[in-house]
């Protein structure tokens, strides 16, 4: 975009001095023993919640469909193990608010009886739409955390004739290594999933972006990809937020996604490596998405590492499995940069949960904010080219429109600004607040307009009725006058 870009520099993002990924990333994958119960949420994806297909008291088997898609943009949910449905109701959602959301609670019987997965023909002999249907039926959503249902995404890609798949193995969040683990241990599955996705979307080639702080994953993936020249492994610099789709697309293709548009608009589609592995299992083995690899990490965890855990396992069970050295000062679902703080440990994991962090007080030290010295660190760190300090200054005085004009809407909420700020100003936090306020005002405006419309309609109706009455009265009067004029007295 011209010479000014050179002067502005492209040194976006942050390099946390210690990414805390190891030793957890180097510990071999462990399989979590079955807990006593699972709470499988109905809304684990972008779109409408799934609709329960079982009732309390029903016995369910591993892999059984327990909730169907609740709309055109939705995803089904499957039972992760065998047991009895003991409740269909609200549990605490993985959100700082601690508000409830609907889930199916299954008390497991420990037998882990599964349904028979149907035999699957070679996906490359199937029509892309059929493969997409299999992906949809398996309940696969973006496992990188965005949780957009994968099948509609692939369909969109095919409709827009995307040429290139971008496979996101960035995993730029500190502490997390679940994607790393998938690539190390299941590289062939990932690559097969990529090939299936290429078939489904019609993409001609695929670029797998992996941060260069994961040499083992890069080596494993390179080995797995040897026979497939259309797929290339592309190490990218380890720099947060490299795993953000817009940033990864730019680094791998040199193209920018226009503001407000999807990546598909520039002919690329981004999918996460764990999603690809899940697609492989769904399409080749007929296995729905009912478990995933979760990184359990943080200073308070005794044995950090990657755990293959059923979806819907409670965070407390997961932490009990990994063990706690000390009482965590904060529990986080996701990474430390964008993850959500959990209100307590009785929260189920979801499909998009790549990590559970039990952080110590020392790890989350929050310094008191001091005044902004306009050092510009946030401006240089912002991967979107925004001016966080200017937006925050406006938000501080309630000038949300001013912040909006500075493209607040383009903020990824990656947290780089708040991370680097030497004055420890809660920058991204104030942007959350402002986005909420702007949304609230837009809602209010809509409501006001609707009220105005109703009021106008009522006024129109009353006027019309008055007019009609007046007209009717005039007519009657005229009729009377005509009668009187003709001299015939009314009988």
């Amino acid at each position: 975009m011209g010479i000014l870009d050179i002067f502005n520099g492209k040194g976006w993002g942050v390099h946390p001095h210690d990414d805390h990924k190891r030793p957890a990333a180097d510990v071999p994958l462990r399989v979590m023993p079955l807990p006593k119960r699972l709470c499988v949420p109905l809304l684990q994806h972008v779109g409408a919640p799934a609709t329960p297909l079982v009732a309390v008291g029903d016995r369910v088997l591993r892999g059984q469909l327990i909730a169907g898609p609740g709309g055109r943009l939705s995803a089904p949910v499957h039972a992760p193990s065998s047991g009895v449905v003991t409740a269909i109701g609200e549990v605490t959602a993985p959100h700082p608010s601690g508000l409830p959301f609907a889930a199916i609670t299954i008390t497991l019987d420990g037998l882990d009886e599964g349904i028979d997965f149907p035999a699957v023909p070679d996906p490359f002999t199937l029509a892309p739409a059929e493969v997409a249907q299999k992906i949809a039926d398996a309940g696969i959503v973006g496992l990188g955390g965005a949780t957009f249902p994968s099948a509609p995404k692939a369909e969109l890609g095919r409709k827009l004739a995307v040429q290139t798949l971008i496979i996101n193995g960035g995993e730029c969040e500190p502490y997390l290594s679940s994607d790393d683990s998938v690539m190390r241990e299941r590289a062939a599955d990932v690559i097969d999933g990529v090939r299936i996705l290429m078939h489904t979307t019609g993409a001609q080639n695929a670029l797998v972006g992996i941060e260069d702080n994961k040499p083992e994953a890069i080596a494993a993936m390179r080995l797995a990809v040897e026979a497939f020249p259309a797929i290339s492994i592309r190490p990218v610099p380890a720099r947060y937020p490299m795993g953000s789709d817009r940033q990864l697309v730019q680094v791998l293709t040199g193209k920018e996604v226009p503001s407000g548009a999807r990546t598909a608009s520039i002919g690329v589609l981004v999918n996460n490596v764990s999603t690809c592995a899940a697609i492989h299992r769904a399409v080749r083995l007929g296995e729905p998405l009912y478990r995933r690899i979760v990184t359990v990490n943080g200073g308070a965890v005794a044995e950090p590492g990657n755990v293959l855990a059923p979806i819907g396992v409670l965070v407390e069970d997961l932490l009990a499995f990994a063990g706690l050295k000390e009482t965590p000062a904060r529990l986080v679902m996701g990474g430390p940069m964008m993850g959500v703080a959990l209100p307590h440990a009785q929260v189920p994991t979801v499909k998009g949960c790549g990590g559970i962090l039990a952080l110590t007080a020392a790890e989350i030290t929050v310094e008191e904010p001091s005044p902004c010295i306009r050092c510009g660190s946030c401006v240089n760190a912002c991967p979107m080219g925004l001016m966080p300090l200017e937006m925050a200054a406006r938000i501080k005085v309630g000038d949300y429109d001013g912040a909006d004009k500075l493209a607040l809407d383009d903020c990824l909420a990656c947290g780089c600004c708040a991370y680097v700020c030497p004055s420890h100003i809660p920058l991204v936090q104030s942007f959350f607040h402002a986005k909420g306020e702007i949304w609230k005002r837009a809602q209010q405006k809509k409501r006001n307009e609707f009220t105005k419309e109703l009021a106008q309609a009522r006024k129109d109706r009353l006027e019309r009725e008055a007019r009609e009455r007046a007209e009717a009265a005039a007519k009657r009067k005229a009729a009377r006058a005509a009668q009187q004029a003709s001299g015939t007295p009314e009988v």
Partner: protein, 361 residues
């Protein structure tokens, strides 16, 4: 194990749950560290009077800050510990004639932090560079004291401690034998008398990288000032944009003008190596608070500082122009920040979403 998991965690906060190391205090400390070698060298050049003035100026700046904080009921100790007032006093001291009387330091230091900074609302709020506000106030009010330069004594011919105290506190002023003119001052004076530069500096320009020449504390040891600046670049405290654009914008017009008429215009070397150019480029103009926060904006700002410095030096009434140039550009900083923003990802420089090239699609 579960027993150690409290049912409800005390603090639930928005992301990010991590923070980089660093604080205002550590930034200020690094700047002071970068300033230290040049300061020590300057103090050795000019002896005890310079040291007294340096100390007094810093103390006055800190006192001004403390007084205001106290009056406004803000935390005094915590704010003073961020080091910004010390740095303001330090930078101001480096821009003063080293043998100036004590009250120059006191007035300048108080003016810098009280009028230049606290009146605007304290750290981060000031529109202008406080040290330069102090210097310009002194220059305009006390032109005689502010242009009384001495040749470096280099320790050898330096006045003793008693004599030094007499110079700074006694009101005796500078012994005539020791007064000297700075290069820029000499050029201006001689030009105004009708003597051209070729005659004034017939024996060559008194510029030297060693910095052994009359001037303020912070302008003589140019090499050490530049080295401190480069150290700050490596520490990531400043970026190259302001220093490079400022020095280039002084050097390029000087180069052209000198090439056309060497009798009237000083060469680029004289401009860059003398006066406050180096200190200004690395330590003054790069002040976070009063400079633009985008890289492109910093280039515009630096270039403005440099060009104005050259204009003021060449055509203005004062021999030196860095302080005025920086203050003038400080006034433009909000405008620059408004007009020169980084390009938002996925948008053009006008802020509109980028339009896809049909071929690309």
């Amino acid at each position: 194990m579960n027993t150690s998991l409290s049912t409800s965690l005390p603090a639930v906060a928005a992301s990010p749950h991590a923070q980089a190391q660093g604080s205002i205090g550590s930034v200020m400390a690094k700047v002071m560290l970068a300033l230290a070698p040049a300061t020590v060298c300057g103090l050795w050049f000019f002896g005890w009077p310079a040291f007294s003035l340096w100390l007094i100026t810093i103390l006055a700046a800190v006192l001004g800050e403390a007084l205001c904080l106290r009056l406004m009921g803000k935390p005094v100790q915590a704010t003073l510990l961020d080091g910004s007032a010390v740095l303001t006093g330090w930078l101001l001291a480096l821009s003063l004639p080293p043998w100036a009387p004590w009250w120059i330091g006191v007035v300048g230091g108080l003016f810098a932090t009280i009028i230049g900074k606290q009146v605007f609302g304290g750290v981060g709020q000031n529109l202008f560079n406080p040290a330069m506000i102090g210097r310009v106030a002194l220059l305009v009010s006390f032109p005689v004291q502010m242009t009384a330069w001495v040749a470096p004594a280099m320790g050898v011919h330096a006045p003793g401690l008693a004599e030094s105290l007499q110079i700074t506190f006694g009101g005796a002023g500078i012994p005539d034998a020791m007064t000297s003119a700075s290069l820029l001052g000499q050029a201006k004076t001689e030009l105004s008398r009708g003597v051209d530069l070729l005659h004034t500096f017939a024996n060559g320009l008194p510029t030297s990288f060693s910095g052994v020449r009359p001037g303020s504390l912070g302008e003589t040891a140019v090499v050490l000032i530049a080295a401190g600046g480069v150290a700050m670049l490596f520490m990531g405290i400043i970026s190259w944009h302001i220093p490079v654009s400022m020095l280039a914008a002084i050097a390029i017009p000087a180069l052209i003008a000198h090439g056309i008429n060497p009798a009237r215009y000083l060469d680029a070397g004289a401009h860059v190596l003398s006066g406050g150019a180096m200190l200004g480029a690395f330590f003054i103009a790069t002040d976070y608070v009063s400079s633009p926060s985008s890289r492109a904006g910093q280039l515009v700002f630096g270039a403005g500082c440099g060009f104005l410095t050259w204009v003021i030096r060449t055509y203005g009434g004062y021999p030196e122009g860095v302080a005025f140039a920086v203050l003038l550009m400080n006034a433009l900083t909000p405008a620059i920040d408004r007009l020169v923003k980084p390009r938002v990802y996925g948008r053009d420089y006008k802020g509109q979403p980028i339009v896809l090239d049909k071929k690309e699609k």
